[in-house]
Symmetry: C2
Subunit: 417 residues, 2 copies
């Protein structure tokens, strides 16, 4: 006996709101950094919902949280649906969480419809996708996909001096399973676009065909501290001025491209950080992205050359530490077409697009056919408390996810619709 | 019975080394911020030496530490010698401390020579001269000179969120005396130059005729946080880029002047401070100085205009908070001549000069005739652990201070030399 599976929108959205309340500070800012106390509370909530939904909860060594449904008679590797629940500082409430909770809603919809999938289903919440506390970003899925050894990842030292492995143990999410212990037959991730394209075009669904390449570096500039009042301008070795020259150049360089390159300096610290002392040291991050591997490499090469120029011109020493580097990733064409077809069958407008942000799906693409579904972000705003996607858009995305997963998990009988 | 007074060089230098050991962190960096635990330890040491020297120790409401010697028969207002013992972050060991400890050495030299000064003598260590923790700088002497009400100064909130009055109480240096309770008949301060002039010329002593004007501002730029990977360059409102444009412009503007203007951005913080988030907010300080009041005002006006331009060009909001503003100060011409004469009598080369740094003496100049004696700074380096002045140069400076103070305090009998 089967009935057409349907997303329980109220339950899905209630959980999204509940998770959005986990990790607020006294000022109401949402910050749920990977492996923090707030992350533990968020994980506890998600694990609880997984159990309520009848899933077996598993945690691997790098803290990836998985909920497995093995329906009677299901065989072979599972279809995996996932994303992450860690956030940036002062975050919005959709990024990552939508994918995890929609995955849960899809499995529940299939269970509650009484269908008998041919293959198991798994919902995943990967560790440290944002990379704000530990680099690289997408760390949990990278380890899961075999791109980084668990030992190395667990030894990662965070921006706050903590060690990822110690923090995972502390919050009770250093699990026993080897990353990759469930090898997915396919991976699908629903996510907010985090860019302006879908909203501007009035398109409901993005079928993500690729993810742009990412390069993260940390630049340290060493000049000389000296008195702000007595040191003539010509005699200064000001690390702050040198850093500012790189920041302004980088913006101009990214703008001068074909409109696809982006460059961001999100962190910048001066030392000794006193109003009347010339900065001896500046440490800042550089985030470079481009959908084209060659253009990304050219951006990096130009930055290196510019750093050399500034070092000579300002008489400062420059060192660069690579934090993350991922080439552009193409998703599985068949899966992208399946997303387009599912949206069209639901009467939803759909377009192919390239993701500007990095996602766990690009790591999972190393293991199995993978693709992503995007829903609109109001104003293109993300990584901000102003991040917003309407309830209807979220449910539409979850419904397309449901249809794609249902096809992938191979229901033996297609109910008449 | 009198003998020619002489600085006890060994005792003066020993104390300077001892004070340099107070406030070191685990890495050996010296940081003795105003009203901190380290400052308390430094104050305790200085107060102890004052008592050893037979001085009456007094603390006023703003924490200024004074040691008073009232020789038998001395009358009228005291001659005051002073400076400060608070430091910047990762500081050198001379700035301020030399003036306080040389003052103590001068009083001891006069006492131990058995002279009978006509007027009392006082040694002062003023609170929060550096202004790193609380703005404005020279706060203690400003309050002492009546330029700022003690109540307002005590309510100052520091960069670490502490309140100055609470911190002074906590460390036991919120005294009972009204600031200004000892009205000096004259004020003399020995200080390291903190600039390269004396060393470059091979001159032993600077007779400081004036102090350049200082303007401190804190600039806050508000843009919009957004995703570093998905937000096209053209759609960004990046507070960090806007701040960097101000930093590079400011350097160019100061350089374009007549070589006397200096401009420094010593603090700069981005928020939310994440590698993959466009900065929503940048907060930075601007330190502008010029010996000429008109040129300083022009610098400030040009900065304000530039901030307006950047706000429009980058679609960001800019607000400015004034932290400190002091016009250039001219010292007492008679006292400056007395310093030159004393140096010359000791066979030391001397030149008139303008101070690039702000000093307590410029505040005390509001109360009484004031002037300063400079000794060379190796390489012009200051506000840095590499700050250095040789022992011979320090003792030469203290000796000139002794001669000037001896004349000011009016010994009834000049011993035959």
């Amino acid at each position: 006996m089967t009935s057409p599976p349907t997303i329980d929108a109220a339950r899905f959205l209630d959980r999204l709101r509940a998770l959005a309340g986990v990790g607020r500070d006294a000022q109401g800012r949402l910050t749920r950094l990977a492996a923090s106390d707030a992350d533990r509370a968020g994980r506890d909530a998600v694990a609880g919902w997984m159990r309520e939904a009848g899933l077996e909860v598993r945690v691997d060594r790098i803290g990836n949280l998985l909920g497995l449904w093995r329906p009677e008679g299901a065989q072979g590797d599972p279809v995996m649906i996932g994303s992450h629940i860690d956030t940036v500082v002062d975050a919005g409430t959709y990024d990552g969480c939508v994918g995890v909770l929609a995955g849960l809603a899809v499995v529940e919809a299939l269970r509650e419809a009484g269908g008998r999938p041919a293959h198991p289903l798994a919902v995943a919440a990967f560790t440290n996708e944002e990379g704000v506390r530990y680099a690289p970003d997408m760390l949990g899925s990278l380890v899961y996909a075999g791109g980084l050894a668990a030992e190395a990842a667990l030894a990662t030292v965070g921006v706050d001096g903590t060690v990822l492995g110690e923090e995972l143990s502390r919050i009770g999410y250093a699990g026993p399973h080897a990353p990759g212990f469930l090898r997915p037959r396919a991976y699908v991730e629903l996510h907010v676009e985090q860019g302006p394209v879908l909203e501007r075009e009035g398109t409901a669904i993005g079928a993500v065909a690729a993810v742009q390449g990412i390069s993260w570096q940390e630049v340290t500039i060493e000049g000389a501290a000296n008195h702000a009042g007595t040191t003539p301008m010509a005699l200064r070795r000001d690390a702050g001025v040198a850093a500012a020259r790189v920041v302004t150049w980088l913006r101009a360089r990214a703008r001068a491209g074909n409109g696809r390159s982006v460059a961001t300096v999100g962190r910048l610290r001066l030392e000794p950080e006193a109003i009347n002392v010339i900065p001896a040291r500046a440490v800042f991050t550089v985030d470079l992205r481009d959908p084209d591997a060659g253009r990304l490499a050219a951006l990096e090469a130009d930055l290196a050359e510019r750093l050399d120029q500034v070092a000579r011109a300002e008489d400062v020493a420059v060192t660069v530490r690579r934090l993350a580097r991922f080439d552009p990733v193409a998703f599985d064409p068949g899966l992208v077409r399946a997303i387009e077809a599912a949206a069209t069958r639901r009467g939803l407008s759909v377009r192919r697009m390239i993701s500007g942000a990095g996602h766990d799906a690009q790591m999972m693409a190393r293991l199995c056919p993978a693709a992503m579904i995007f829903v609109p972000s109001a104003g293109g705003i993300s990584h901000s408390p102003h991040e917003h996607t309407s309830e209807a858009e979220l449910v539409a995305g979850a419904t397309v996810l449901l249809d794609v997963v249902r096809r992938l998990s191979g229901p033996p009988e297609e109910p008449a619709e």
